[in-house]
């Protein structure tokens, strides 16, 4: 199961503002750190 992680679409946020824009961009967006 762990190795299925790359199946998720992911993006890198460079700033808090950019992360917030991604969060608002569509439903079901999650943060990873």
């Amino acid at each position: 199961m762990l190795f299925e992680l790359p199946a998720f679409e992911h993006v890198d946020a460079k700033s808090i503002e950019e992360a917030l824009r991604f969060l608002e961009s569509r439903e079901g967006v999650k943060i990873i750190a």
Binding site: M1, E9, H10, D12, I16, L20, L23, G28, I32, A33
Partner: protein, 298 residues
């Protein structure tokens, strides 16, 4: 997420946003007032090794050293630890649609609840909040900085947790981010303790934990904050115990009285009654450690 937990109110993410590269969330610094600012994406190891973790923040250092394993601390973050999901078997099992996933019942009271479930303040869900960092930060009166489309706000850390009443665990809105933890500078005479009981001594989640931070002068408690972890859906401040202790000489009798008061109103489940006595013992040990430490501060 890595466990692919899903339910009517819990779906797999459509997009993951990596925040590790955000510089302002990866720093630890002290401002002019001495408040410690800890970015949400700071790793537990990074914080543990920070030179800004002064001796008066020793309980925080102690808690950090007891979270997971060294490998987990190297990757786990401060905000991640505070906002982590429950350890409940039923919540994590794909065949059980529990209350926290949008189902209409909690399976734990009639099933497995020996270790990671609550003995007080529970509701429809009886799982306990698993974070070690949250109780100790609450004991230091920390605040959480939250940013979202409506701007920034700071809340006292205890106000961040929503408990058992809904499917979430925090008051964070879907488009909000926990960006920073702010810890006010404790006085140099602050005494503190963090106690944790766990099944495996090497690394494990807390069966129960106690964080206590305060000031004691010539044996008399001037001010103290005691927070219990691992025994309720959110970290619980033992307000009655604090009230009993303030202004009193910290002797064995008052320590026992405070420990009893901390668990007053506990409603353990059939298989986790032991956690009541366990937590009382941890409260006693934390206060005894504080009594020892204040002798060294004098």
């Amino acid at each position: 997420m890595k466990d692919r937990i899903t339910g009517p109110e819990l779906s797999l993410p459509s997009l993951l946003v990596n925040i590790k590269g955000i510089a302002e969330m990866n720093r630890v610094f002290q401002d002019e007032q001495g408040t410690l600012h800890i970015g949400g994406a700071v790793t537990l190891r990074q914080l543990e090794q920070s030179p800004l973790l002064k001796p008066e923040l020793g309980a925080l250092r102690s808690a950090l050293g007891q979270i997971g394993s060294r490998q987990i601390r190297a990757l786990g973050t401060v905000a991640g630890n505070i906002c982590q999901r429950l350890r409940c078997l039923y919540f994590r099992h794909p065949d059980f649609i529990c209350f926290k996933k949008g189902g209409n019942r909690c399976h734990a009271p009639g099933g497995e609840h020996r270790y990671y479930h609550a003995i007080m303040h529970y509701g429809k869900c009886v799982a306990a909040h698993p974070s070690d960092l949250a109780p100790v930060l609450m004991a230091y009166d920390a605040r959480a900085a939250v940013e979202g489309p409506k701007g920034k706000r700071a809340v006292r850390l205890q106000e961040l947790f929503s408990g058992a009443k809904d499917t979430g665990q925090t008051i964070l809105e879907p488009h909000e981010l926990l960006t920073e933890i702010q810890v006010p500078r404790p006085g140099e005479t602050t005494v503190h303790s963090f106690m944790k009981s766990r099944l495996r001594r090497s690394f494990d989640f807390a069966l129960s934990s106690v964080a206590a931070v305060g000031r004691v002068s010539r044996g008399v408690v001037e001010d103290i904050r005691i927070v219990l972890g691992g025994i309720a859906p959110l970290p619980v401040e033992a307000a009655k115990s604090e009230e009993i202790l303030c202004g009193k000489y910290l002797n064995d009798d008052i320590i026992s009285e405070a420990a009893e008061a901390a668990l007053k109103g506990a409603r353990p489940l059939p298989k986790n009654r032991y956690k009541v006595d366990l937590t009382k013992t941890l409260v006693k040990r934390a206060l005894e450690e504080i009594r020892e430490k204040q002798l060294n501060v004098l």
